[in-house]
């Protein structure tokens, strides 16, 4: 009688434990089940920043950061180019800049979110090569959320600088 009682107690505990373990496992595996992207589109925006007082080019769209430091050190931004580069995972795409340098962007990986509410991040790298073979920016590797701009600025160009924006579009 006592033995059967103990066995039933053990069975109940085992069932509860397995149930909790399964719930925990489901919780941890749920975010990882998102399909990994094999290719993305990378949008590049090339702006010419000057202090000629012309303001921000309406073609640029709504990038409010251009009116804040450090971008606010220039009062005028003109859209020069806006290519959209499809890039496969593990490969890179190149685009020529107005100063004859070459911007290379690569899609390296996808980072699955840790939690359910976390967004998927994309590992993207960028580099800028000079025409003579020298490198202006050897490497910039970021973990970017989809649709978020990040900027590479500082190359002098025609009395101002070039501001290059990069955004991942899955």
């Amino acid at each position: 009688m006592k033995l059967s009682h103990r066995i039933s107690q053990f069975a109940v505990c085992l069932a509860l434990g397995l149930g909790a373990q399964g719930a925990i496992a489901d919780d941890t595996r749920a975010p990882a089940q998102a399909p990994a992207a094999s290719s993305v589109n990378i949008e590049v925006i090339v702006l010419h920043a000057t202090n000629d007082g012309t303001g921000i080019d309406p073609k640029i769209g709504k990038i409010t950061e251009l009116s804040k430091p450090p971008f606010s050190s220039y009062n005028s931004y003109k859209l020069l180019d806006r290519p959209k580069l499809p890039v496969e995972k593990g490969k890179q795409a190149k685009t020529k800049l107005p100063n004859d340098r070459e911007l290379a962007v690569a899609f390296k990986d996808v980072i699955a979110p840790k939690k359910k509410d976390d967004p998927t991040r994309y590992v993207v790298s960028a580099s800028i090569q000079k025409p003579g073979g020298n490198t202006f920016l050897p490497l910039l590797e970021v973990n970017a959320k989809a649709g978020e701009w990040f900027f590479v600025a500082g190359q002098t160009y025609k009395g101002g600088i070039l501001v290059i924006g990069i955004k991942v579009l899955p």
Partner: protein
Amino acid sequence: MNKGQPPMVHPPLARQAAHDSRASRDAMPSSFPDAPSNLELMQYFDGELDEPRKSAVAAFVGADLSAQNKLSGMRITSAIVQHEARALHVADDIADLVFAQIAAEKAAETSAPASPTNAGARVIPFPASPVAKTAAGLQAADALSPRADVPRAAGSQIAGSQIAGSQVAGSNAAGLQPSPVPGARPAANDNGRRIFGFAALAVAAAAALTIWGRLDTGPSATSLITPTAPVAVLSASGASGAPGAPGAPGAPGALPAPAVPGSIEPQIDVAAVTPDGDMEHGVEVAAVNFGAHMGSIFYVPSDSALGAHSLPHGSADAQRTTTVVWLTDDAGE
């Protein structure tokens, strides 16, 4: 009989009593018409009485019991007072005596190798407490020959103090000796229960860590790169500045000079130079190599982070930033 003894110092009380009892000369036995007064007895005791009076007083003391008692009282009083004065004298010179003893020990160590018998620490006892000294003096006075017990030389004084000190130490040791109490508590170093308590705590902590580790959603196997804190890899540059930012040069080319020119790719924590590390970065810089240029990384707060009051404070949208990598370009076009 007291000729060989040095003159002794009598306590004021005794001398006052001697003066007061000058009138008690009449109390002496009538068979001795020239019975000595107390003062003469005192002078006789101190050896200050001259002949022929000294012989007369001696004869009187030998025949009169009261005079003998008075002399005995003088001896006791003298012994106590002398012992007290000697003890105070030793206490005044205790530091000198200790250093002299240390010097003597050092000299002995240098002159002769240490042997097992004298290798141990040597205790230099201190003078006894006044109570103990008084007791010692009374013990000596009981023998009615206190002067024989009173040492004269300095070294002998130390020996006397050692005796008195050892008596006090002995009494203290006897007082501090633990006495067995029936039903007393166990020893203070009985840590059996504590050890069991710590073991239980350790097991509980291990269980908690195991559960916490299971609850933690670590990076899945599909992600090859785990997101880490942004780290900037600088080449030949280490300084950061914000062109256009408050307090920074206006032109991007006017970034401050590198602190260590020619340094080879130092790694810095970008989060440390970020104004607000709690903000969520839409784009996290995993690695950057500025090459031969100087560069800076900025996390510019977005509109919602700066002025959108409609968003709840502390939400992810309210803390969004935009990542900007700014390089200097000396070569130009």
